[in-house]
């Protein structure tokens, strides 16, 4: 059966009724009615151009007229679709097809229909040129039209305007580029960080790392991603605890860990981490920064060993002095030995105070409460022993004192408490209370005992003359005053008030001082 276009009477297609299926019958019914044909050729959104076997345009539908700006009459029987296509593209296409199909193909209309002429389905992009010379991208499907003997009698080129799609593609390309730029920027921020960075999921599995983290662990990015982060530290339990701490507290700072590389190299790091979230505030995991603190730790170790060295020398020198006194005491008459003994005890107290000061130091200040507890502990150990009936108790508010006054403060406490131990308890049992509290802008130190008191001035419980002289000196050194206490039936209470911290932690002098 041959169908002809109503307007031109040019044969445009051959349909063979060899297949008797229901579908074929339905198609034929439609075609008979001309409805499908009309619909295709009248579609304004598709350009349908039919040519004869040589390519000369025979049909130019409404869509083609609209897209290309020609009327059907202007092109029919006059030009081929090659004349309204970009010639450069035709040259390129001819060259490509020649190479692909290994046969010479000319640059004109043949280049557009060669594949279709060989029965190969062909859809490609080309640039059509409108009557006014403007261009637009089109996607064209080419089919060969054959007669009953299978001889090509023409070609059908159905095209769609691809401008909108091209614009979308161009926009998409721009967006993709912008996204790549953004990713590059973000990545370079991560990579240019001097610290090792990693992100983990909430269970501690590594999800991303930077180059520094690869260097720190001696592992590649691929090896690290997906592995538990705790595996790369010498103490995996402590590393895991850090992640749990971050999840609980939302961040951790200066958490010290030792990273362990594949080759066994260990690096001390300060681990700082925070949780991070997506746009919907859903927890994504933990961002951890591991800063190499090897140098800082080495400096700390150096400082510690220097401190130890100095302490060793100071204590040895004090030991020499105590030894010299011991030697003198050996050749001294018995009544004078007590003085040497007291001298040695005070030197011992100074040495111990230095240790306690370094233990209770808070940078530029000393924590008085902790210092007083340490003094009590040391005195109990050296003066009383485990079996003594005399107990030393401490009641202290958290106050601070400057290091310059820590030694006289300690010697003052030592002198007062030693007096109590020696003189207040002839029965060998009782309590000594060491107390510091803030009273106005002063620190009040109270050393009290529940012993026999000082009512009977004739007895041996009166402190030695030198001892009370020293007390007065220490109080003056502290810038303090002794608060007169009323005589009580039992026990002795000494109250001393001294100014609060003379130097504030920030380093500025206290205004009131």
């Amino acid at each position: 059966m041959t169908y002809r276009n109503d307007e031109t009477r040019t044969p445009i297609g051959v349909f063979e009724g060899t297949d008797n299926t229901a579908r074929k019958q339905a198609e034929e019914a439609l075609l008979k009615a001309g409805a499908l044909q009309r619909a295709i050729f009248n579609s304004a959104n598709f350009s349908s151009i039919a040519t004869d076997a040589k390519g000369v345009i025979q049909i130019f539908n409404v869509g083609a007229e609209r897209m290309l700006g020609y009327t059907a009459a202007e092109v029919m029987n006059k030009i081929t679709p090659a004349d309204i296509s970009d010639p450069q593209e035709l040259i390129a296409r001819a060259k490509e097809l020649s190479a692909e199909l290994a046969t010479p193909i000319t640059q004109g209309f043949e280049a557009l229909v060669f594949k279709a002429s060989r029965g190969i389905e062909d859809i490609y992009e080309l640039t059509y040129i409108r009557k006014d010379g403007s261009r637009f991208p089109a996607v064209v499907s080419v089919t060969a039209l054959r007669d009953a003997q299978d001889v090509i009698i023409g070609y059908l080129l159905i095209g769609t305007d691809n401008t909108a799609r091209k614009l979308v593609e161009a926009e998409q390309k721009k967006l993709d580029q912008r996204l790549r730029d953004q990713q590059f920027y973000t990545r370079s921020l991560i990579e240019s960080n001097i610290d090792a960075l990693m992100t983990t999921d909430p269970s501690g599995i590594i999800t991303d790392v930077n180059k520094q983290m690869e260097a720190l662990t001696g592992c590649t990015r691929d090896e690290l991603i997906g592995a538990p982060s705790k595996n790369y530290f010498t103490d995996p339990e402590r590393a895991e605890a850090a992640i749990k701490l971050v999840l609980r507290e939302k961040k951790v700072t200066d958490y010290e860990l030792t990273a362990c590389a594949r080759d066994g190299k260990q690096t001390e790091v300060s681990y700082n981490a925070t949780t991070f979230y997506d746009r919907d505030r859903t927890l994504q995991g933990v961002l951890a920064v591991a800063r190499d603190i090897t140098e800082r730790k080495q400096r700390e170790r150096d400082a510690l060993s220097l401190t130890n060295e100095i302490s060793h020398r100071i204590k040895n020198n004090l030991q020499v002095i105590v030894g010299l006194i011991a030697y003198e005491a050996k050749w001294t008459a018995a009544p004078c030995v007590q003085g040497y003994k007291a001298m040695q005890a005070r030197i011992g107290a100074i040495a111990q105070l230095y240790d306690l000061i370094s233990q209770t130091s808070r940078g530029r200040t000393i924590a008085v409460d902790a210092y007083l507890r340490e003094i009590a502990k040391t005195m109990a150990a050296s003066l009383l022993g485990n079996t003594s009936g005399i107990k030393i108790e401490v009641k202290a508010e958290p106050l601070e004192i400057d290091p310059d006054r820590a030694v006289p403060f300690g010697l003052l406490v030592n002198e007062l408490a030693t007096n109590a131990v020696k003189h207040a308890f002839p029965q060998g049992t009782g309590h000594i209370m060491l107390c510091v509290e803030q009273v106005g802008d002063q620190i009040e130190l109270i050393v009290a005992d529940d012993g026999v008191g000082m009512k009977d001035k004739g007895s041996a419980k009166v402190p030695e003359k030198r001892g009370s002289d020293y007390l007065a000196i220490f109080v003056r050194q502290l810038g303090g005053t002794i608060v007169p206490s009323k005589q009580e039936a039992t026990g002795t209470t000494v109250r001393i008030r001294l100014p609060l911290l003379l130097v504030l932690p920030g380093g500025a002098d206290r205004v009131a001082a």
Binding site: Q319, V320, A326, Y327, G348, S382
Partner: protein
């Protein structure tokens, strides 16, 4: 009366310690470093106790190492350490089992108490 080996690199401190200990009737041997002490410990000389400084001639824990070698040679030896430095838990972990400790500076009375306690243990 006991034989006590005193290991101390400071000559004055060592001799004063010897004097203090001899005053109570004990016999003393002395060494200024680990090597000298080990020569005595490896000899046939009877020794009841070792009184050693921890920081010995640049060896921060020289006395601790010495005590371990000494105990390996003489398991019944009693050990008394001394140092002017603060005693940390880390350092205590290095002490031999049952060892005693005396902080520097110590007086003749404190040393006497320590030696008494050491020998009585």
């Amino acid at each position: 009366m006991a034989v006590i080996l005193i290991v101390e690199d400071d000559v004055f401190i060592r001799e004063i310690a010897e004097m203090m200990i001899q005053d109570w009737g004990h016999h003393t041997l002395s060494a200024s470093d680990v090597d000298e002490a080990l020569i005595l410990l490896r000899s046939a000389q009877h020794i009841d106790a070792l009184f050693t400084d921890i920081y010995l001639k640049h060896l921060v824990h020289g006395g601790c190492d010495l005590a371990h070698e000494a105990i390996a040679l003489r398991p019944k030896l009693r050990v008394l350490y001394t140092t002017g430095n603060s005693i940390t838990d880390k350092m205590k972990a290095l002490f031999t089992e049952g060892a005693h400790f005396l902080r520097k500076p110590y007086t003749q009375y404190q040393l006497q108490d320590s030696v008494k306690g050491l020998l009585a243990a």
